[in-house]
Symmetry: C2
Subunit: 371 residues, 2 copies
């Protein structure tokens, strides 16, 4: 058993050479998986998140089934703001709903102070359980929403397409906007550092919807808060800064911070890495919709992405966003194997037997684990 710091995923976060390109997938534990759907039939989404035993079980599923190089704790980006009393609910098939949205300065002032370390203790407990179960098999990633993306849910009252209320608050009451984001920075820093203290070995900050903004607005209304968040995190733990639809914002996203910059599929990986600089690692960037295509097509696109990374240390393979519910599970398994196989051969290095990728092993982690 290798010490955690030498795991390919963590080495890639530090831009150290690895024998193969590590891979994990956003929403690798999710609705596309029968085991997950079975668990969800027995309990609601929030209920599942708040049950450390069950959350740990879900977290471990893809490690066993897929042979991915990292686990990510099963949770939701809105958990730490639930104690703010905004009326968080998860309606079936609808995503999160905020019953009492934050629309102005008075609403921001009314938000109670939440001790971030006590906001979601069940997440920390789940992290401890997963770390124990994983031992040093693969590293565990913690995560949180970035201030903009969490704010957008609080303001819109749920998912949005145009972010009109968010932008209205930002432009018409910048004081209230910045006050809200400062509150969220504080909660997020405490919440993520709590995850790190509990055992998270890397953390991902999800700014999933910030691609709705112009570069000028990102710079003025978001960048300072994301930067403050990242600066507040416990040193020495790699931070993945993830966003989508940000092909026009990448330099600014990078300026806000992070050791690894997440890339969605709407940008060329080689161009994007050049733009953000080779002194950060990158993660991505297969179109999640490609997992619905035939394996030969998936393989062609995986190879193209590996070619664009050109064997440069510091590439973590992932989708550009989460696994879609419509995805056949066998395509996801095939993808993980393809990444391991094509990156081992392509790199010109035949992996030594004790460090070969899981997918190439006779007994892979997904088959030799009897849980």
């Amino acid at each position: 058993m290798k010490p955690a710091t030498s795991a390919p995923f963590l080495r890639a976060c530090r831009r150290e050479a690895t024998e193969y390109t590590p891979v994990w997938l956003m929403r690798q534990a999710g609705r596309y998986m029968a085991e997950y759907r079975a668990l969800r039939q027995r309990s609601g989404f929030l209920e599942l998140c708040k049950n450390p035993e069950a959350a740990a079980e879900v977290t471990l599923l893809p490690v066993e089934r897929l042979g991915v190089d990292a686990a990510i704790i099963f949770a939701d980006i809105l958990l730490p703001v639930e104690p703010m009393g905004v009326g968080l609910e998860f309606a079936a098939g609808e995503g999160p709903i905020i019953r009492r949205p934050v629309r102005g300065a008075a609403d921001v002032k009314r938000l109670p102070d939440v001790d971030p370390r006590e906001a979601a203790p069940f997440v920390f407990e789940a992290i401890r359980k997963v770390r124990k179960a994983l031992s040093e098999r693969v590293p565990l990633i913690g995560f949180a929403g970035a201030p903009f993306t969490v704010a957008s849910y609080l303001i819109e009252g749920g998912a949005s397409r145009e972010y009109l209320e968010t932008k209205r608050l930002m432009h018409n009451d910048p004081g209230a906007w910045h006050a809200l984001l400062e509150r969220l920075v504080k909660v997020t820093v405490g919440y993520v550092n709590g995850q790190i203290a509990a055992g998270a070995q890397a953390v991902q900050l999800f700014d999933s919807w910030v691609g709705a903004l112009s570069p000028a607005d990102y710079r003025e209304f978001v960048l300072p808060h994301t930067r403050a968040t990242i600066k507040g995190l416990t040193a020495g733990v790699p931070v993945i800064h993830f966003s989508t639809g940000t092909a026009g914002l990448l330099e600014l996203v990078r300026e806000a911070g992070g050791d690894v910059i997440g890339l969605d599929w709407r940008v060329d990986l080689a161009d994007a890495w050049k733009r953000v600089g080779y002194d950060v690692a990158v993660q991505g960037n297969l179109d999640p919709a490609l997992l619905l295509a035939k394996p030969a097509q998936i393989k062609r696109h995986v190879q193209a992405i590996l070619d664009r990374a050109a064997g440069r240390p510091g590439h973590i393979f992932n989708l550009g966003h989460g696994v879609l519910p419509e995805t056949p599970v066998e395509h996801v398994i095939a993808l993980v194997d393809m990444v391991h196989e094509l990156s081992s051969l392509g790199g010109g290095l035949r992996p030594p037997s004790d460090s070969s990728p899981p997918g190439l092993r006779g007994k892979s982690p997904r088959s030799n684990d009897a849980r």
Copy 2:
């Protein structure tokens, strides 16, 4: 009265100097406008499109109310494919619905051949009426959907968020995909050239949803068809190539063609212009959501965009996408005036009295027209 070719909008399309930055707005005739809503109460959307008298009236509304520098014919990108028998409908508040979506090779083969010039004769008739009513006041823009965006509606059966069926066909049956797009190229070329013959003085190709694709997929599955479309258009008429969410695709969009490249708000105008090259004009790029903010905020952002254009000939001011239905009409009027005013002063040129922007005139086109 000036000849049409010297109109600021057409001069800017050709990257010739203008006394002020010309401005028009996508969906400048639309639901945000009381006059339009009144017309829509009396007839359905398709009915309105198919009535040349009414379509001409709607087209002229914003010229009179806003003082914009160009009119755009009131129509829909799906009109030319309606005769293909796919069951096009516009349900109230839902956007287009295609009752018989195209999902495979057999569906593509089954599509009847449509004479593009006969597909939507009412559009050509409306164009002739508008040209007559406008005389040479402002130029008239014709438009069509680009092959990808039209195909996405045909395949998905309507609007989409993920474009899963579109991507599935593209990846799993590239033969059917290319056959479908070739059909659409043919229809689109004929349809747009029909608009030009009827009097359209510039044309915009809307590839509104192509930003859903990776650069590699755009290059393989879209670029050749968009290029073939643009190459097929009547020479001498400026082509605006518009798309959204394509900050990672701009070089390829430009490679596909067009005299003017449309930019949405998620890219910095100066960076984008540099990327597509100064041998094309650009159009954009204010966030439509900003029109819901206070005028002072709108003005600040208009100034920032004009600053990014740096007075370089060939900038047409527009939103990054269509005017949102929630937009106050007085903000739209103010926007047009701001663009004219700030670009006249900012450029260092005091416009001579016979070429001053409409918004600065004592009697602007919107007040001196008695229709």
